[in-house]
Amino acid sequence: MAPSSATLERSAQGQLVARLSKLPWWLLLILLAGVFLFYKFTTDELYSFILGKLKQGILVTIFVTTVAYMAAIVLGLIAGLGRVSKNPVVFNLATLYVQIIRGVPILVQIFYITFVVTPALFAAVNWVGNGLAGPLGLRPMLDYLATANPAQITAALNDLNGFQRSVVWLAQVDAQSLSFLTRVIFALAVAYGGFEAETFRAGIESIGKGQMEAARSLGMSYVQAMRHIVLPQAVRRVLPPLGNDFISMLKDSSLVSVLGVRDVTQEARLYVATSFRYPETLNSLAFVYLSMTVVLSLGVKWIENRMEHGRSG
């Protein structure tokens, strides 16, 4: 009798250990650190001062990430559809884009798009504008504008009609007029678009061939079948990876600080450069990122759970 009750007791103990080991302790530890830092932010003057310094940067980080992410989704969807296309031109263009993105570090991409691609795009626009200006007889106007003072320019532009004015604008618009903020958003969108393309491709390919065949056999075109049958199922399936990419992008957006865009990382760097308060500043910076990513990853988890228990798809 005695040995068996001892085993029972041990197993009860074992059960308790098993149950305890299943708890999300990591989350508890993060919460504890969070509570501690929150306490610091409210009581410690230096910490609350630093948080105040970072506040504006947090908004910039969220803004950059949100806008770039939405653009990346659109780009990724287009490139992902290209990756499953049977048209060799479309397929190869999309694959070229994805391969370049996958093979170049994101920091290098940000530099490249900011300092090479953006000026090149503007040069192309100028070229088109200049090309149109010749046949439209606007050449002398452009030459005059190049030497005129601001008042003269305004007067001269007022004499033109809307179409002429846009051609002049195309010919003259300068890459300098595009802020670094806009350029890094563009860069992040292009960089992440390549990753989202592969996510969408995987999602589309995970939908059985029979779905496309059934849709086509009912007389739907490829585009109609994609839009009404394949994509709705594929998108639902890739929601969790898409959510995780949003978290990744939030973190990678810190790279824009190297171009002086005043996101939360840049604000921290600026403060530390004059105060040398490294531990306090970086504690605060890491805390800001971590609290955003933890909340977001709980959101992704929630989506995953909902999908598992929800209707098929």
Binding site: G210, L218, G219
Partner: protein
């Protein structure tokens, strides 16, 4: 070029070939399906019977030969293919219902975007078809909540709602549990009696005997023998047919 030798022929296949790489899945098949008739294609697996069926609505691109559907020749042009597909209903072994749509939505979607019917008209038609296949009460249910037999009947309703002139069935009962086979075959039998032009690839010999006007036996990409059910089952001409029948009729 004559569209079809006989205007009453709904499907005319002339010397159809389909190669997958080196494999000759279909190797010179000619077949005619007159209006309102039912052809049942049987044969061992890999005999090319499903490939013939899938070539009729261009789910497979033929390597050679000609296919005429209701007097129109099938070409590689997209417009032509989509137009013919809308006239040819197809039912698959794996049902292929759209899992993100309810039964009713499965039946209305193509009506709306291909036939350009209004929402009301498409829904009326869809309910009518679900009624015909015997599951009007499942209209608002998602496919995952339906049994295999019910799913296949929704798939048939989905095809019928397009008012097809021809129905193709690709082993419609092969993926079903035995007790659900009959409910699907009953729908098909009734469809055959109503005068639908049908091409059925199936192993259901009972159905073949009851519904087929003609049985086509295929092996290794060619038609070995075809004839009325009576002669086919009672008096097969070819040795290969006899061997096959003895294997499946136990």
């Amino acid at each position: 070029m004559a569209a079809a030798d006989n205007p009453k022929d709904m499907i005319v296949i002339k010397n159809l070939t389909k190669h997958f790489g080196r494999v000759r899945a279909v190797d010179g098949v000619s077949l005619t399906v007159p209006h309102g008739k039912v052809k049942v294609i049987i044969g061992p697996s890999g005999s090319g019977k499903s490939t013939v069926l899938r070539c009729i609505n261009h789910l497979e691109t033929p390597t050679g030969g000609e296919i005429w559907v209701d007097g129109i020749q099938l070409t590689h042009e997209h417009k032509n293919i989509n137009a013919i597909r809308a006239e040819v209903g197809m039912v698959f072994q794996q049902f292929n219902l759209f899992p993100h749509l309810t039964a009713l939505e499965n039946v209305t979607l193509a009506q709306r975007i291909v036939r350009k019917r209004s929402k009301e008209e498409a829904e009326r038609k869809a309910r009518e078809q679900l009624e015909r296949v015997g599951i009007p009460e499942k209209a608002d249910v998602f496919p995952a909540q339906l049994s295999g037999g019910q799913q296949q009947r929704v798939a048939i309703a989905r095809a019928l709602a397009m008012d097809p002139k021809i129905m193709l069935f690709d082993e419609p009962t092969s993926a079903l549990d035995p007790e659900m086979i009959k409910e699907v075959l009953d729908v098909m039998l009734w469809l055959a009696r109503e005068g639908m032009t049908m091409v059925v690839v199936s192993h259901e010999m009972g159905f073949a005997r009851n519904a087929a006007d003609e049985i086509v036996f295929m092996d290794k990409g060619v038609i070995v023998e075809q004839g009325s059910p009576d002669t086919f089952f009672q008096n097969p001409r070819e040795e290969r047919t006899r061997v096959f029948l003895s294997q499946i009729l136990h």
